[in-house]
Symmetry: D2
Subunit: 346 residues, 4 copies
Amino acid sequence: MMIIMKKGATDADIGHVVEKLHGVGAEAHISRGEFKTVIGAIGDREVISQLPFDAMPGVEGVVSIMKPYKFVSREFKDEDTIINVGGIKIGEGYFTVMAGPCSVESEEQVLTTARMVKEAGAAILRGGAFKPRTSPYAFQGLGRQGLEILAAAREETGLPIVTEVVDVRDVELVAEYADILQIGARNMQNFLLLTEVGRTDKPVLLKRGFSATIEEALMAAEYIVKAGDSKIILCERGIRTFETYTRNTLDISSVPLIKQLSHLPVIVDPSHASGKRDLIAPLTMAGLAAGADGAIIEVHPNPEEASCDGQQSLAFEQFDSLMGKLKKVAPAFDKSLATGEYNGVR
Amino acid sequence: MMIIMKKGATDADIGHVVEKLHGVGAEAHISRGEFKTVIGAIGDREVISQLPFDAMPGVEGVVSIMKPYKFVSREFKDEDTIINVGGIKIGEGYFTVMAGPCSVESEEQVLTTARMVKEAGAAILRGGAFKPRTSPYAFQGLGRQGLEILAAAREETGLPIVTEVVDVRDVELVAEYADILQIGARNMQNFLLLTEVGRTDKPVLLKRGFSATIEEALMAAEYIVKAGDSKIILCERGIRTFETYTRNTLDISSVPLIKQLSHLPVIVDPSHASGKRDLIAPLTMAGLAAGADGAIIEVHPNPEEASCDGQQSLAFEQFDSLMGKLKKVAPAFDKSLATGEYNGVR
Amino acid sequence: MMIIMKKGATDADIGHVVEKLHGVGAEAHISRGEFKTVIGAIGDREVISQLPFDAMPGVEGVVSIMKPYKFVSREFKDEDTIINVGGIKIGEGYFTVMAGPCSVESEEQVLTTARMVKEAGAAILRGGAFKPRTSPYAFQGLGRQGLEILAAAREETGLPIVTEVVDVRDVELVAEYADILQIGARNMQNFLLLTEVGRTDKPVLLKRGFSATIEEALMAAEYIVKAGDSKIILCERGIRTFETYTRNTLDISSVPLIKQLSHLPVIVDPSHASGKRDLIAPLTMAGLAAGADGAIIEVHPNPEEASCDGQQSLAFEQFDSLMGKLKKVAPAFDKSLATGEYNGVR
Amino acid sequence: MMIIMKKGATDADIGHVVEKLHGVGAEAHISRGEFKTVIGAIGDREVISQLPFDAMPGVEGVVSIMKPYKFVSREFKDEDTIINVGGIKIGEGYFTVMAGPCSVESEEQVLTTARMVKEAGAAILRGGAFKPRTSPYAFQGLGRQGLEILAAAREETGLPIVTEVVDVRDVELVAEYADILQIGARNMQNFLLLTEVGRTDKPVLLKRGFSATIEEALMAAEYIVKAGDSKIILCERGIRTFETYTRNTLDISSVPLIKQLSHLPVIVDPSHASGKRDLIAPLTMAGLAAGADGAIIEVHPNPEEASCDGQQSLAFEQFDSLMGKLKKVAPAFDKSLATGEYNGVR
C-alpha cells in the first residue's frame, strides 16, 4: 500500500503515518519527490488495509498495490479450477451450456423443456423456484414444489440442475435438491447469503451484480471461499450503463480479464445481459470467442406464455439452432461442448 | 400500457395481442399510424403487466403509461407522510439530522459521540452494530453487544436510534432495540429483508441502492408498504457513475423528484455519497436547499481511529460547525431543525 | 409519436394538444384509459417532433414510436451496405482488419509497420497524423507530414489508408491523402465536422462516442448521409462505465444491434475499448463472433517507444499470431479475411 | 509518478524502467515490498508522463501522484479568480444569474425576455445563435442574425451576453458580438475550438461534457489557459448516468470539489442537467448552497412555442419567483446576487 501525502504535508504528518504503521508491526518506506512524499507500507496486508490513512492529517490518498482478494486470485493458484458436477465439467476446455426456463411453472413445462435442451446438447438444466422480483406484484416462484419438479426432471433426463437461492433460511433446503446453487446478481453483495452457500459443499454459480466492478465480484467469490467452498463459477450477466436499447451491457472484456486475474471458470448469461431474444445467439458466440467456459440461456416451450422473461427466452427451434452453431464453431476455439452422463454423485 | 407493433406487423399479429388482452379481461384500443400500429391496453394494470407482450410476434416494444408502484405514490396519497419517532419528527417542515459513528466500536466511543451530537443539535443517533462489508477481511460489527451500547446511549441522551439490519434472522432482535430500522444500499433489493422489516411496526430508513433508479427505490418502498408498514424514510446516498474523484455521485435531483412522485420523506447521506469529509458540509446544505427532510452524517470522536469510514467522518468540531450553519440557513428555506425530547414511545 | 397526458389532465389540455397537432397538419388519435389519456400524433414525423409537447399543460411525457433517423435505418434500405475502398471491401462476408500505429511518428516506423501488417494479412493501414489529446501537453501529431508518410506507405505496400480528421479546416487536405476519413469518438457529435466529411466522396469511419447511445451514433451517421455521403463504417470502441479495470467497456451487443437497426457495416476497436494489450485478441475474436465486419487494431514496431497508446498496441509477433487465429476461425462464422490488391481507385 | 511492477518482475525489468527514466533525465527511487516493487519517478512531470511505462515488460500499472493540469489548479494560484464582464462579476461572493432563451428565434422574443430577466434580477443574458443539435432535422439557429439580435438586446437592457460558439471558423465573428464565449458540453473536448477561444481575450464559459470526469473538465480549461486566456467559468450541467427520470444527473459534488481543486469560478446549469422545468428552482438552490458562483437558466416568453428545450424553460412568472427566492436565501450563504450597470468595456 502506498500512502500519498499532500503537497505541503509536514514532517510531523509524515511521522504520524509512519508511527501508525509501526504500531501494527509494518515497515514504512519513505520516498520524497519534488512536490509530494509517498510512503510505502510493507507488512501484513490485511492489517495495514484496516488503518484509516485517509483520515490522517496531510494524507492525500492511498493506492493499493496488492489486490484485495487472495484465494480466488491467479496469483494464489495458477492452474484453472475445474468444476465437476456429477460428471459434467465446467472448465478444462469445455463449453458448458446451462438451459431452461426463467421460472419453474409446472411439471409439464419443465419436463418438456428438459427433454428438449438435453436433446439439443445442453449439459445442465436451469430453472427458478425462488424468484427475486423488482415488483412486489410479480410472480415470486413455486418454492419447494419448484425444487421437486426440477428434481423430477433431473431424474428423467440425467441433467444436473442449477437453481437460485435467495433466502439464507432456504440454503439447506435448496442444497438438498440442487446440484449448483445460484446467487443472483441482486444478491452478489448479500454477504450473509454468500457465507451460507459457502458452508454447503455445493458448487456455486455467482452472478456479477449489474453494478459491481470485476474486483467486487471477485471479492464476493472470496467470501464464499472463506466460508469453506472453492467450487465457484463466475457469471457475467451485463452491467448497468446509460445505453437503453439493451437491458444491460454485456461486459465481454470481463471474461478474459477474470480468467487473467482468477483461476475460476467464467460463463456468460446473454439472456439477462441483453433482455432481447435476437441477441442471445450472437452474444453466446461472443462469449465463446472471448474465452468463456459456458453460457446460461433461458429456453421456454412457449415464450409468450412465460411467467417471466418471455422476451429474452429462446423457443425450442431457436435454441436448437444456436446449439448447432456452437457445435460447429467451438472446435475453432479448441473447445468442445460439455456433455456426458450424470453419475448421480452430488 | 401501450403495445407498439413493428412496421410490417400483420393483422394476425395485432389480432393475437388483442386476443391475449381479452383473455385477461382487458380492453384493446387500436391506433393505426402511417407506419406503425399502437395498441392501448385498458384494464387491471397488475394483470396486464404480467403478459409477455415482448415475446409475441410483431411486437416492437411496450410502453408503461402507469407507474409500477401505487401505495408510495403521490397519486395514491397527496399529503406528505410525517414520521414520528418518539416525539421526534421527520417531515412537516423539520430538517432532521441523524448523526453518529459508522460502526459501534465501544461504549465509550458511542456515549461520547451521542453526548456531543445531542449537544450540537442532532435529533437521532446513528451507529452500525451489524456491518455489511465488501471485504470478508474487514470488521463486521459488534452485533447484539452493539445494539446494547446504542440503547444505553439512548437511555442517557434521549436520542432515538437508527441502526442497520442486514439479516432476515435478526430483524426481530434489531427491532427490539432500534427506533428506526435501516436498510442499507446493498440490501435495497433484498426483497425478503424488505418484507420482514415491513412486518414490524418500526419506521424504516431505506437507502437507495447505488445503482438503483428512482423508480426501483420507490418499488422497494412499495415492498415494505405491502408487507404492512408505511412509515418509510427514503435516503439518497449517491449513485455509481464514471466519476472517480468522489466515491459516488449524490443525485441531488432525486430529492425534489421523489417529493413529487411520492408522499414519503427523503433525507440525504453526504458521507457515503462523497466518501470525503470536506464535501459533507456543502452536500448537506445542498440537500436542505433541494428540499430534503434531513441528513444522516457520520461523526466520530477520532476519525483516524475509526474502524470504518474514517475518511468520511466528521470530527466533533467539524460537526458542530456544520450544525451551526444549518441552524442559520434553515429558516431561509422555511425549515427548522428537528429537536425535542424523546418520549420513550417506540 | 404518442403524447401521454397526466392523470387529471383536463379536456382543455387535451384539446390544446390536438389543436397544436392540427396546426401543423397532423392528425390526433385520442385513446382514453381509466386514468390517463394518450394522444397519437399521425403525420409528418419531422414536423411533429419539433413541437414542444413537454411544455404544454397537462402533458406528462412523449413517446417516440418512430426512430429519429431514416437514411441509415434498415427500414429505409434492407440490403447491407458494402464499402469498396479501391478494391478492398468492408461488408459482404469479409472481416476486414485495419492495422497500424496510433500516431505517425516517422517514415521508418510507418513503413516497417505497413510491410509487417500487410504480410500478416491486414487489408488497410491505419495511422494518426492529427491527434486529439486530452492533455495539452501530449504529442499532437505530425500533421501534413504525417499524411505524406502514410501515402508513401500506401505507395509501397498497396494498403489503402484510414486516418483521422479533427479540424473542419483540414477536411479537404486529409481527403487528398486518405482513402477513409476517420471521425474520432470525441468528435462523434461535432456536427460541423460530420457535415464537412459528408461533403467529400470518401468513405467515413465513424467511431461511436464513449458516452453516446447507439441511437445517437446512428443519428451522427445520419448527419453524414444528409450531407451527401452514405459510405459509412460504424465503429464500436467502448463506452464509459463505472468499471475501472478496463479503459472503456466494449459494448459487444451494439454489433448485432446496429446490424439489425441499420444497413451500415460495423467494426470493433479492441485497442481503445480495453486499453490493454492482453485483451485485444479475445475482444477481436468476440467482435468476429458477434457479427462485426472487421476490426481496427493498433500495432507498433516497438510499443514501449510509442508516442501514444503503447500499452494498447500489439508488437509484430502478437499481431501476426492474432491474424493467424482469425484466419483459422473466420470460416466457422462464414467469413473470410478481406485482402486484395488496391486498385488505386480512390 | 509511481510505476508498480508485477509480482515476479525481474531485476532486468526493473533495471529497464530505471534506464528509461535516466534517459529523460529523471531519477528513479526503488521501493521493494514483500511481493511487488514500486519505482518512484522524480523529475520533469511532463517529460516523464510521456513515457509508455505500461508497455514495458514487468510493469503492472502506473499511478500519477501529480495532477495532470497546472495553471487551473488551486496549487498554482491560491486566490479565487474573479471574472469581470463589463462591470458584472462572477466570483467574489456574488451569485450571478445568466438567463434567456435556449435559441434566439426573433428580435421580439429576445427583447421581451431580456427586459423581463433584467427586471427580475438576472445579470447576464444568454441565448443561442449557433445550435449544435443531435438531429440533423432540428432547428440549427439563426447564426449571425441571432448575434445581432443579442447585441440589440444588450444595447437596450445593458445586460452583457453569453452565447455559444460551435465552429472554429466562427470564433472571431462570435467574439465580435459576445461578452462571454460559451463552449457547449459536446465540444468540451474539441481541443481546436478550446485553443481558438483561448486566443481571444473574451471570458469563456466552459460546460463540462456530460460524460467528462472533473479532471477532464479541468484539462479542457487548461487547454484554454495554455492558448492565452485564463478568464474561464466552469459550468456543471449534469452527467450521463443510468437514471432515466432526469435527462442528466446534476453532479452537485463537483461544485465544492472544483472549488477545492481550482481557483476558477463554477456555476450550475439546472435546465440542461434535469431537462425538467419543475426541478430548475430546487437545483439552482442546491447549487447556491453547495457554493456555486451562479447559474445559467433557460427562460422563454412562451415555453410551449420554443424552438428548443421548451420543457426545461421557465416562463416569466416562474423565473421571477425563483429570483425572489434566491434574493431571500443568498445572504444566508454570505452571497449576494450580482447586478450592476454594464460599463460597455468588453
